[in-house]
């Protein structure tokens, strides 16, 4: 965008540059950008925004292009629904990893949601403001603990504990999908708690006063009045927790066993949870393993790994988007910051 010399003289003539000179011409454009129509805040923030969007688009495009060979080799259904992954035989099927991801995340939510929502109800409906804030701070600190720390605790404490717990089922070791799920439950608990609490606090106090005024007990107020109104926010909290569970890598990596090609005989069988012969692999633990480094240089193998990234991105992205929409619909108190490392 070039400015006309006349205009620049006019703009530059205000403070230090008194005459129409080449120097004024150099200074001119910058002055004009300072005007109201080209507010620097506006175009700089637009640039940041565009850059962020470009990153996402670039990431998707890159993964898509890089994974093309495997889609051609296996076919879309063959890759997504294939049950066998042997890179030395050029066989790539992702289903066992999708299955592992689903089971681990489901276990995490089943354990974390009742606890997290329960804690949120207590904090929001029972606790006076000061302890509530202390509790909330503590829970949010918990969300900031690096996941590798959780992983170490998982190896040291959870694996042996699960092993003893499952003794009656004759487990091989403490490396099971259940172990990964329980560990994830601990990790997503802060996310569930803090976002649920935000959703509950978002329900106007007048509603509570009205309910109590009508003679409802505290419990009835919480369960019948506050919870239903906060429901979209609660669902959003759960979805955000799910997003974190899907993407979590290193902690799960350390306790899940990382056994390839494990699918249950029956889809609803509980066996994979309790037998480490049925320990599994999630999308993230596969990506976090050594194959990612091995694959570089072999276009097909690399494409298969890039495909894992694409599937994972689609899963997490989809869940996060639904969660974000629900948060917005529920009033969006507390903003949208997934508690990640």
């Amino acid at each position: 965008v070039s400015a006309a010399p006349g205009g620049s003289v006019e703009a530059g003539g205000s403070i230090e540059v008194g005459t129409a000179s080449p120097r004024a011409w150099l200074v001119g454009p910058r002055r004009r950008l300072g005007g109201a129509r080209r507010d620097p805040l506006r175009w700089m923030s637009f640039a940041s925004c565009a850059l962020a969007a470009a990153f996402l688009a670039g990431l998707l495009g890159l993964l898509l292009v890089q994974s093309l060979p495997v889609w051609r080799h296996e076919g879309i259904a063959g890759y997504l629904l294939g049950g066998r992954w042997f890179y030395r035989a050029d066989t790539f099927g992702v289903l066992p990893m999708i299955y592992g991801t689903a089971v681990v995340s489901a276990v995490a939510l089943v354990l974390a949601v009742p606890l997290g929502v329960g804690a949120a109800v207590f904090a929001s409906e029972v606790l006076p403001p000061r302890p509530r804030l202390a509790l909330k701070t503590a829970v949010e600190l918990l969300a900031g603990v690096p996941s590798v720390v959780y992983g170490l605790l998982g190896v040291l404490l959870l694996r042996p504990w699960i092993y003893r717990l499952l003794r009656p089922f004759d487990p091989l070791s403490g490396d099971t999908l259940l172990t990964g799920g329980v560990l994830l439950a601990v990790m997503v608990l802060p996310t569930v708690t803090t976002f649920s609490e935000d959703a509950l606090r978002g329900v106007p106090a007048a509603q509570r006063r009205a309910a109590r005024g009508l003679g409802l007990s505290r419990a009835a107020t919480a369960l019948r009045v506050v919870l239903p109104q906060a429901l979209p926010g609660l669902v959003a909290a759960i979805l955000l927790a799910l997003g974190r569970a899907l993407g979590e890598t290193i902690a799960v990596f350390l306790v899940i066993g990382r056994r390839d090609n494990q699918l249950p005989e029956h889809w609803l069988s509980a066996e994979p949870l309790v037998r480490s012969t049925h320990a599994g692999q999630t999308l993230t633990t596969k990506l976090g393993g050594s194959e990612t480094f091995l694959a570089w240089g072999d276009p097909l193998h690399w494409a298969a790994i890039a495909g894992l990234g694409l599937v994972l991105l689609a899963l997490v992205g989809g869940v996060t988007m639904v969660g974000a929409v629900l948060v917005r619909r529920s009033g969006g108190k507390g903003g949208f910051h997934a508690a990640r490392r």
Binding site: R23, F86, D175, R259, D260, S290, L294
Partner: protein
Amino acid sequence: MSTRNAMNRLGPLLTIGFALTLVACGGGSGSGDKMAADPSGSGTADGSAVLRVNGSTTVNPVVTKAAEILHAERGMNITVDTQGGSSGGIAALGEGRVEVAMSSRPVIGHDHTTYPKVDFRPVRIGADAVALAVNKDVWDGGVHALSRQQTQAIYEGKVDNWSAVGGPDEPIVFYDKEPGRGTWEVFAHWAYGNPDDAPLVSHLEIGSNEEGRTKVSSTPGAITQLSFAWTDRKTVFPLAVVTDEGQTVAPTPATVADGSYPISRQLLVITDGAPSPAAKELIDFLLSPRGQQVVRDAGYVPLAAEKGVAATGETAAAGTGAAAASAPAAGS
């Protein structure tokens, strides 16, 4: 003021332009030999010559580290490359493209027929050994050795209880080293002759040596392939190997160093005839206590048992009998 402002603004542009010009010129003139400092390439120990090394990726970390130390302390210029692995290194040496080859396999007849005029002189700098490490209860249950056939049967899942190989009635939990690890390659070489021939099986997987030791020591009935240096005989126990000839060989620094323990490979550096002064300086360093410490730091077995170099805790503790007598140090 404004003039200077303008210059300041132009400054970076000028600099970038200048740098680009330099890069362009450099690209043009440097298109020949990258290591133009010494076109002859013949090694002399005066510090300015370039010593060229090529070969095995297994040996590479040791020699690269040694090259860094020698460059920092004595100003030696050593280029280390890994094109073609062990065979690539031997070929490069045979064709006179390098002064030193790195190899994790011995020089074989084929090399001599391909390069009849070359006097291959291998020097052993250490060994890479893999133990079949088991949980304490397996060891206490009476399993102290496995043959190759037994190991294959376990690896392929045909045998899934320790009682089948003389141990307690307890399921076998096989933790497989993840693919791409040198440890796995050594194991597959021994068990199946060639990693490409190893069966397509899916076991519980482990990555680092730390993880392997932790999981095997905490899981009853567990076995894994573990880098030899990590078997401490307190939490995890290295099994002996019954060779195809029927001999039982336990992994000790001595049996690893002399090559009688089969799940191992020698780490070699090879010269053509007597080494040049620079090559000799490198090899002497690799054989010195400090060089052997580099070998140990890279996770390999130094020549401690053979050369009388002081052994540190891990290696010594892993040995049996006389080799273990040297006092464990807190070193590594």
